[in-house]
Symmetry: C2
Subunit: 335 residues, 2 copies
């Protein structure tokens, strides 16, 4: 058997996860049991939203010391004791930060190579067609309840969820305003067709900046950030506005959460705020992926991938996500 | 013409409204124009939820200096230049802290004396059958989406909204837990059939106290308080729990709002939080009032009124509401 490498949890982080929270281990996969497959990972993702599970706090079942770090991934079946998968099949699933893994033949999606071409890369299945894109799709359409002509505000808009959400919003006839940090990200969003962009790093008063960009108020706030940015959005919501809580990246590394202050607005403006777990929509995934792939081929949905090579760098790249340095879907080529 | 007295706004309060924020004025009503009625107030209410409108801040249209303080009231038409109302008619509407007023013949509900008896007092129309009761009725049923067997948690449960909400919850097959301050209020709620009562003044850790009372978690939190109590409830919500924001009495007197910290729970537990403005349901009021009156006559919905006599005391009694001293619907006999 070959030897592979994987990242496991060495200690529960507090704050932004430092490199000593992770351990790079060599391992040799066990022999397969019936109903198992051996997968060689091609790419895995770095997910800010997974941060909470590293803490192992008492409220949510989290990772234990020694567990492989979780992530989405795509890989190739290189050995199989299952009738469901043959050697050579490409699969997508929760593979983790590892070069290979033994996996039951459930919870994996077989990828049809014919679906991918020069416009839709196979890596899109863990990006714009994966959890980030599906989060944007169902969060905006099911929780946001958009009506053509309404105004949509998106935080962390240059991230894979936010950028997808904004482009879907344009196809639905919404006025789309993005919040992002820095001129590069703002230019990227303008290029995607966003109607207005707010560079939060350049604004002293975000509440006023939103009011300027959306003088008639915001109908839907698609929130990936939380904290003070969420409060600034709440103060600009129209009556009966909907707030979709997709991510809270400003909170994940806080020992004491920041939260929001403007709860009385929920009464005076009849606001609704709702959280999203994308797996609730699992039965509709295939349909949504087909619709988004069509938008990509029609040139209405662009996506950006930020791929680096080598499993060694995963912890450092993961910490960098919280500094807001990159944009696009953050992937690691595992070889 | 007779002379009457009314309370007007003398200055915008900060914090709990002090007596010098109000001015007691003598006045003589102007002669009626066509389409107007003169109403002699019998009772008016003291509403914590009106507090925000006293501040006259920039976000919500509030009262101006010299405006009559707003409240619900019932009164008698003593002069009429309208075909819609005759002298002697009893009416309910937004009469204010005044012994009499000139009012257009719109926005008033004529009360049928035959609907009231020794079980349902006419004052109930500005209490259990008025805004507080209707807030409980629509907030619980429309925003709470209760299913028989679920667990309902209510803050400020001994207030007119909370106590009504809990009793409606029992008729819907819910397990009902109330949070109130002090042994008297808790005993009152137990007498109303609440399954469990938490005396927040006697608990050091409200989050744990809720967990003890609701070991399997809370499906619906009907919130009249906000702030730290709302956070404690959020930490006990079941996945897909619904939070109804009915009031935020812990916030109304704060210069800097307290707010909540636990927004990431909206993702991990798919929570929904929604504010209520009862007037959105105006077309269904008559039907709901009839249903609640039937519950009262069946002995399934008790209500408590806390009536004091004399318009002079209104500002002092209003400030006392925020100290949590009273319970039941707080009314003033205006004569």
């Amino acid at each position: 058997m070959s030897t592979y490498r994987k990242w496991t949890l060495a200690k529960h982080p507090s704050g932004v996860p430092s490199e000593d929270c992770f351990a790079l281990e060599d391992f040799t996969p066990d022999a397969l049991s019936d109903g198992q497959v051996l997968i060689k990972t091609h790419y895995f993702s770095l997910d800010p939203g997974m941060r909470g599970r590293l803490s192992g706090d008492s409220y949510a079942a989290g990772l234990k010391i020694g567990d492989t770090i979780e992530s989405a991934g795509i890989g190739e079946v290189i050995d199989s004791k299952s009738e469901r998968f043959a050697v050579g099949d490409m699969v997508m699933g929760g593979l983790g930060w590892t070069q290979a893994l033994t996996h039951p033949d459930r919870g994996l999606q077989k990828l049809d190579p014919a679906l991918f071409d020069d416009k839709v890369a196979m890596t899109a299945t863990i990006g714009v067609l994966g959890v980030p894109g599906l989060t944007a799709w169902f969060g905006l359409q099911d929780l946001g309840q958009p009506q053509s002509g309404e105004t949509l505000l998106i935080s962390s808009a240059a991230g894979p969820v936010g950028a997808t959400c904004g482009q879907i919003g344009k196809t639905l006839g919404l006025t789309v305003i993005g919040i992002a940090g820095g001129a590069d990200k703002c230019a990227y969003l303008s290029g995607l067709g966003f109607d207005a962009v707010i560079d939060y790093k350049a604004e002293k008063d975000l509440t006023k900046a939103i009011a300027t960009a959306a003088p008639n108020g915001v109908d839907i706030y698609f929130d990936n950030v939380g904290g003070t940015m969420l409060d600034a959005a709440i103060l600009n919501m129209k009556p009966k506005g909907r707030i979709v809580i997709s991510g809270q990246v400003s909170e994940y590394n806080n020992e004491t959460p920041i939260g929001i202050r403007q709860t009385t607005r929920f009464i005076t403006h009849r606001l609704r705020m709702e959280g999203l777990v994308v797996y609730d929509y699992a039965k509709q995934f295939v349909q949504a992926q087909a619709a988004m792939a069509a938008l990509i081929r029609d040139g209405k949905l662009a996506y950006k991938e930020d791929i680096s090579e080598g499993i060694e760098d995963a912890p450092r790249e993961y910490a960098a996500l919280f500094a807001g340095a990159n944009f696009g879907r953050r992937l690691i080529k595992a070889s």
